[in-house]
């Protein structure tokens, strides 16, 4: 269970949000809303522990994430704007290195299968350099198929993906939620999951009609 209490974040001199509190139970998805620059990415990076909170506390199963350290990062997978894959490695190599560093080594066979399910059949052993944006995104997202982490933090996971891939990713997210996982995500698309599992959080506020 993830618990955020009285969280505040300051970037430079600007206060992005303060006194933010929410809870995320097993089998729930938190959908972050907000205009550009409202602090969605900052909130996600803070929840992962990549950024230090200015105030407040983030607790995982009742314990502060900074005290838990590796016990927390083992339970989290973060996919941000940057894919985190190496251009000179093939999809299979990228996926295997990522998984090994996640403490969950996979065989070559598993990596091929995961990439195939992700719709990269025939591209598994090409250097990622030659793949398109969407295909690189798919390689990065293939981690979700082999990962055993309970909390997924996905920053705009649908960007650069085509319609079929978006549908597939939605189904993976749905399966993860149904099997008791937790997801925090930002997207400007509709998330097709039953309402009671989805929590919505609005960051920042602008009048209707303002850009």
């Amino acid at each position: 269970m993830l618990e955020v209490a009285g969280l505040a974040c300051i970037r430079g001199d600007r206060k992005l949000f303060s006194d933010l509190s929410f809870r995320l139970e097993a089998g729930e998805l938190l959908h972050l809303h907000g205009h550009n620059g409202s602090g969605k990415t900052t909130l996600m990076r803070t929840v992962c522990g990549l950024m230090k909170e200015s105030d407040g506390e983030i607790r995982w199963n009742g314990e502060s994430i900074h005290r838990l350290g590796e016990d927390f990062t083992r339970d989290v997978v973060y996919i941000g704007h940057k894919n985190g894959i190496k251009d000179d490695l093939t999809g299979v190599e990228n996926l295997r290195v990522c998984s090994a560093l996640d403490g969950n080594p996979i065989t070559e066979r598993q990596a091929w299968d995961a990439l195939e399910r992700m719709g990269l059949m025939g591209h598994e052993d090409l250097p990622s350099r030659v793949l398109s944006q969407g295909q690189k995104r798919r390689v990065a997202l293939a981690r979700l198929l082999v990962n055993k982490s309970r909390l997924w933090v996905l920053d705009e996971p649908f960007t650069a993906l085509d319609v079929a891939a978006v549908d597939f990713l939605q189904s993976i997210i749905r399966d993860h939620i149904n099997s008791g996982g937790m997801v925090i995500l930002t997207t400007h698309q509709e998330v097709r999951i039953t309402r009671e599992q989805v929590k919505e959080l609005q960051l920042g506020w602008k009048e209707v009609g303002h850009v």
């Binding site: 992962c48 522990g49 990549l50 950024m51 230090k52 590796e70 016990d71 990062t73 083992r74 989290v76 997978v77 973060y78 941000g80 704007h81 940057k82 894919n83 985190g84 894959i85 190496k86 251009d87 000179d88 490695l89 190599e93 290195v97 990522c98 090994a100 560093l101 996640d102 403490g103 080594p105 250097p127």
Partner: protein
Amino acid sequence: MFSAFRTLMGRDLLLAMRRRSDLFTTLFFFVIVVSLFPLGIGPEMNTLRLIAPGVFWVAALLASMLALERLFAVDYEDGALEQMLLAPQPLFVLVLAKVTAHWLVTGLPLVLMAPLLGLQYDLSSEALGVMVLSLLLGTPALSLIGAIGAALTLGLRGGGVLVSLLVLPLYIPVLIFGSGAVEATASGLGGQGHISMLGAILVLSLLLAPLAASAALRISVE
């Protein structure tokens, strides 16, 4: 923990193999700088023997610094560094893995090339042996100390220049004991003490530099 070390080191070595042009720039820099002095000074054997230790070590210092910039920068840009920070592994182990791979690719070739280049300076075989030993102990220390600077200047504009300002002063002890060892051997005094000091510096930087670099990386990524 060890498998993470192996994985990351293996990955970096594989990446270096796929980008061989990067691999050779440091080595060629070292070879050219060291070779320029005999050409400039002429065949004055006594002068060359005298300046050899200093030239070799300053060249090694600069070559090692030249390579520093790439240590974390690529990982930072493509997001692999964020994933490293979020991996359930001790960060200093991952940093140590990266530095080890970096040294194997940029430091070790210099050590292996040194005896060949030493011939241009008319160094005795004994002095050449000490030169290789001192470089073998000194260059890993340079990579380790440099990693702190590389981590601190990550994502800054003009980071390359800043790295030199930060790191070069810290390199001074390695320079003094490294070239001192060769000088002492060449003059017949024996470089044992200098070599021991280099060893001590290496052990100390092995212990402290990965921790300091890890802390610096966390700050830089924020």
